[in-house]
Amino acid sequence: MSRSNKGSRSWLLALSLLMGGAQAESNPARIELASHCPPGFELTAANSCALHSLYDQYNSLYNQGVGGLKTALPARREGFSPQQIDLGRQLFFDPLLSGDQTLSCASCHHPKLGFADGQAKSTGIHGRTASRGAPSLWNMAFLTSFFWDARAKSLEEQMTGPLYSPNEMGNNPAQLLSSINANSTYQRLFATAYPGEPAQPISLAQIYTAIAAFETSLISLNSRYDHYAHGYAEALNANELEGMNVFRSFVARCAECHTPPLFTNQQIAVIGVPEAPGQPFDTGAESQSHNPSWRGGFKVPSLRNIALTAPYMHNGAFANLRDASEFYTKGRGHALPEEEKARVILHWHIWEPKLADLELERLVDFMQSLTDESFTPAIPSQVPSGLTPGGRLPAALQSSTAKADPTPARLVSQGE
């Protein structure tokens, strides 16, 4: 498009205003998939979305995406089309994906709660409790393993966990396929998102791809910390700077595992977090990997947007960042059950840094500077099933009346 096409651009503008943008989707309109990329992404000539970040200016050793302030990010998944990403958004918020059509992905990964749910352990179908807490979905595009125990190697593999777990969304592949295929809106949207593929039937792979496309569009790399990292010295205040220096010091050693720029090195670490009273010890990555030295080990989570996703750890053991930080200074293995002390091999960076109270406070200050939600996508005002977008809300977002009635009012699934 050249400058002489100004007229057609204005026409496009008028049309888009008529149809309503992402912020202004209004009720009776027919659901259309976006032809533009989410914020942060450039639409390429091949109709795929390419992320651009200021971190692209830098290098990293062996392209591992770990280092200091001016270090490149790890390799990322991108290249989905705008239509696939937007279809993923519809699916993500559609309760049609759960066994009883009450829960969407957003019921545990809600954009207003840092794409987590504010609970120690998530609440699934029929009020059942999941085995671990819901991790945030920010910056999934850069991760190479998923779940707290790192057992899935792709988002597509990961999502089959919650979709089909009887304690989470409680669906099964046959029901998912039949309900999506029976919906005429989804038929039309999938045909749009996968133009080169047979229109019918919609496949599981297409569903997974679309959701992964949406998840990889959730990018948070523009916090005040990032402004500092890119060279603006005033972006952090004195307390936050002090906190950053504690964070990366070799006393606290936070940055040894929560390594910039993603604030995770994506490794398994055994740190010895306490379980709630009466709860059994969570063996973590040991069972999936058959590696006894990973007993009680979990994937190091990214700390980006960490201030939004209390409580912390795989089991929500700590209500706030202060308590989570204090855990690391209370002594190596202090919270392990007696019978685990002899067999668990704690990470070598777990030691006794003897952090002062003020240092813990500064660490919290610094972690709060890692918040950036500027690319938060809109919750669709309607989803193809006609069910309430998002389905049941996480408890922290439910109003008192909604809390009294755990089953939200359902619209009749209508399609088109």
Binding site: G40, E42, L61
Partner: protein
């Protein structure tokens, strides 16, 4: 030091007697020639640097302004004022602070006057003395003591130069460059460190020479790093002298191509005072050199004496105490080459596990070199000269010296990625502006099309506005200041915004050749 002493016998499980005996049952491999004569032959590019010119591709340029810091002033205040290229001269005095350098090309240099040094004093309260994340940083001529963490720690800076520092009784590591490429650690004196005095972590192309390290748990450690040379160092009275490891669970998974040569490695018999749980807490006192899981390590022309446990131990992740298994790291030390070294008086009081191995193999004399575990394609240059255990699988080295490989430092500094201003403008447009402005629809801010119509040929108008925005439209929230971006980047982003269409394609033919 008064720190907790861990019994090496308890902390270390170099047991694996079964594996050891298994290797002994195999036939003697010493007739096999391992490694061609060309392994360290002269190669273009890496053999031209004379040792005296090692520093030419590392360190700061020192071309800028000089900032003098005197007793009573803060070094950090000078760092904050400094621009890349500047020199910070620290005069004698006592400086109680953590200095952090998040800029490139800064020369932090102590000035020694009449034998008086500038001292950085941590008072056992401060964490680290010097932290840097920039490229081309030099830290030199500082006396650093009583910090809890590290004396000098680098996080991802390339082309570093750390020299002529005295690091005494300082915390966990003395000098610890991490995740950097191309660096020289030279002429430092370090003692009383509860982990490694000099610790090269996840780095490439590093040269460690002419340092004196003593009274520490580990003298010099090369960990998850490649293409490195440790030479001409004096390493004594540590628990372990020189360590070459793969530590499991780190994001960079290999150690290979390490030369350890021309060092004095003597009487490293200090009781282990490593922190409980640290990897080095498993180092048995009295060990000269440990190779664990590292490949292509060549040990040449060192004087290794008086190390009571053993002169050189080669081992793997399966045999080292309390170590996590990492499926992404090869646990064995392969292609280890022991050329000529002067070794005597080692192994006079070995740890119990080695004693047991000696009994099992009917060995009565002192042992200089022990291999525990599987080590493929390893060799000794002159097998009969050392009393050894577990090296039957070792062949005879087909090469005799590393001398032709002068250094692995790069001929030129690692260069930053070069980007045109236009490309940075695009990064800012997508990385920052796009959070509120979509091309042809309303988001938090007005559409880019509307901005284009308003500012058509006036990018400076956008720059002025975003530097200090005022609320303009009733139906939109006020825009936050974008003054954290440098003026030239603001301008580049404005120009990109005015010249982009909905596909993000920039209407500059020079930039658009690929599209």
């Amino acid at each position: 030091m008064g720190k907790k002493i861990i019994s090496a016998v308890v902390a270390v499980g170099l047991l694996a007697a079964g594996a050891y005996l298994g290797s002994q049952l195999g036939s003697d491999n010493s007739a096999t020639l391992v490694g061609g004569a060309d392994r360290y032959a002269k190669q273009a590019g890496n053999n031209s640097a004379a040792v005296s010119s090692l520093a030419k591709s590392v360190g700061a340029s020192g071309k800028g302004q000089v900032h003098a810091v005197r007793d009573g002033e803060l070094i950090q205040a000078a760092v904050q004022k400094a621009q890349p290229g500047d020199v910070i001269q620290v005069f004698p005095g006592t400086y109680k602070e953590t200095v952090y350098i998040d800029k490139d090309d800064i020369l932090l240099s102590g000035v020694i006057v009449d034998g008086q040094w500038p001292t950085m004093e941590g008072e056992q309260k401060l964490n680290d003395a010097v932290l840097y994340s920039g490229n081309n940083i030099t830290v030199e001529n500082l006396h650093i003591t009583h910090y809890k963490g590290n004396a000098i720690m680098g996080q991802a800076g390339n082309n570093f130069l750390i020299r002529n520092n005295r690091v005494i009784d300082t915390g966990v590591y003395g000098i610890f460059p991490q995740l950097g490429k191309n660096g020289l650690v030279s002429n430092n004196v370090l003692s009383g460190i509860e982990d490694a005095a000099i610790y090269i972590g996840m780095c490439d192309n590093v040269h460690v020479n002419n340092n004196e390290v003593f009274d520490s748990v580990a003298g010099i450690e090369i960990e998850n790093s490649r293409h490195s040379i440790v030479e001409n160092n004096k390493v004594y009275n540590n628990t372990g002298g020189i360590l070459t490891f793969i530590t499991p669970g780190l994001p960079i998974k290999t150690t290979f191509d390490v030369i350890i040569r021309n060092n004095f490695i003597n009487n490293n018999n200090h009781p282990n005072f490593g922190a409980p749980g640290s990897i080095v807490a498993g180092v048995p006192a009295g060990t000269g050199i440990i190779v664990m899981a590292a490949d292509e390590v060549t040990i040449e022309n060192n004087i290794i004496s008086g190390n009571k446990n053993v002169g050189i131990v080669i081992t793997d992740h399966d045999s080292f105490a309390n170590i996590t298994k990492d499926p992404d790291s090869d646990p064995n030390s392969d292609k280890v080459s022991i050329l000529n070294n002067l070794m005597f008086d080692n192994g006079t009081e070995p740890m119990d596990e080695i004693k047991a191995l000696k009994i099992a193999s009917l060995t009565s004399g002192n042992v200089d070199i022990i291999n525990i575990g599987t080590s493929r394609d390893s060799c000794l240059l002159n097998p009969p000269q050392y009393p050894t255990l577990g090296t039957k699988s070792f062949g005879t080295c087909g090469f005799s010296t590393t001398a032709n490989t002068v250094t692995y430092l790069l001929a030129e500094p690692v260069a930053p990625r070069e980007f045109k201003l236009e490309e940075k403008g695009k990064m800012v447009y997508y990385g920052v502006c796009a959070g509120c402005h979509a091309y042809n629809m309303r988001m938090i801010g007005p559409p880019v099309e509307v901005i284009q119509a308003l500012y058509m040929d006036n990018p400076q108008g956008i720059v002025d506005y975003i530097t200090n925005p005022t609320k303009k439209r009733d139906d939109y929230p006020a825009m936050p200041k974008q003054d954290y971006l440098s003026p030239e980047i603001r301008r580049a982003a404005a120009e990109f915004m005015l010249n982009t269409d909905s596909k993000g394609i920039f209407h500059d033919p020079a930039l658009n050749q690929q599209q």
